[in-house]
Symmetry: C2
Subunit: 127 residues, 2 copies
DNA sequence: CGGGATCCTCTACGATACTG
DNA sequence: CAGTATCGTAGAGGATCCCG
């Protein structure tokens, strides 16, 4: 999301919605969070799960998730390095959202393709 | 979200999640959808609800929502113009997601502030 | 293994002005 | 009222190389 850090909290009820979305609107964030629902993962494990994400971006997204308090990062002082990522309680609290998203996606996309097939140029002159 | 149009559907289970997020990741989309949950709204009504959105952006977001099949646009051939926006059945099917988002936001942000100071430029004009 | 540093591109977002 | 047209910007996202 370029500018999509939904960070304005001066709006009406939609505010909460925007704020919540703002935490998962990174290109890979939702997927990362979703995979972390299953348990702790190491950096390269996430990489393999997500597919096509570059190290830089994954680090970036993980750092933001960490800064948002959704993900916890545990570094083992070893060599070779070992870093584990897991959901914080706050991150775990997003499970309903993640599941709702997956549920919707499974129903509306997995079955018959993505919705973005409609024609924008549609004028209803009824009534 | 610069590049956050999550449009790749070639990933594993996270795929559905990403796809669903991709439909609401526009800066104003989630808020617009949320407000449309309450019923049909006219262009400037949405503008007033959302606050701070420019006509251009609102049009843009509405057009994408329409193209994604989430929102329906009804134009009345009158003068002055009258255009009504409402949720399509598909859009309505996102209600659980929207509510989950709002619920999370209300709980985790409304109470004790946002989890992270995302935006440097705070509320300057609304004060 | 798990990143950091650099450089670059692209486009979502925004300000402003105008119109049928 | 409900947009459209232009122009400009930031910064999210990406490619590549390197490091402890």
């Amino acid at each position: 999301m370029g500018k999509v850090r939904h960070s304005r909290f001066d709006c009406s009820p939609g505010c909460s919605v925007e704020a919540a979305v703002g935490l998962i609107d990174g290109k890979w964030k939702s997927v990362v969070l979703f995979h972390l629902l299953s348990g702790t993962l190491r950096f390269n494990e996430i990489r393999r799960h997500v597919h096509n994400v570059t190290p830089r971006m994954l680090t970036n997204q993980l750092r933001e998730l960490e800064a948002d308090g959704l993900v916890e990062r545990k570094v083992y002082a070893q060599v070779p390095p070992k870093v584990e990522y897991s959901l914080s309680p706050l991150g775990r609290s997003m499970e309903p959202i993640l599941l709702a998203l997956k549920d919707w996606g499974d129903t509306n996309i997995g079955l018959y393709g993505k919705p973005r097939a409609t024609d924008p140029r549609e004028v209803s002159d009824a009534a």
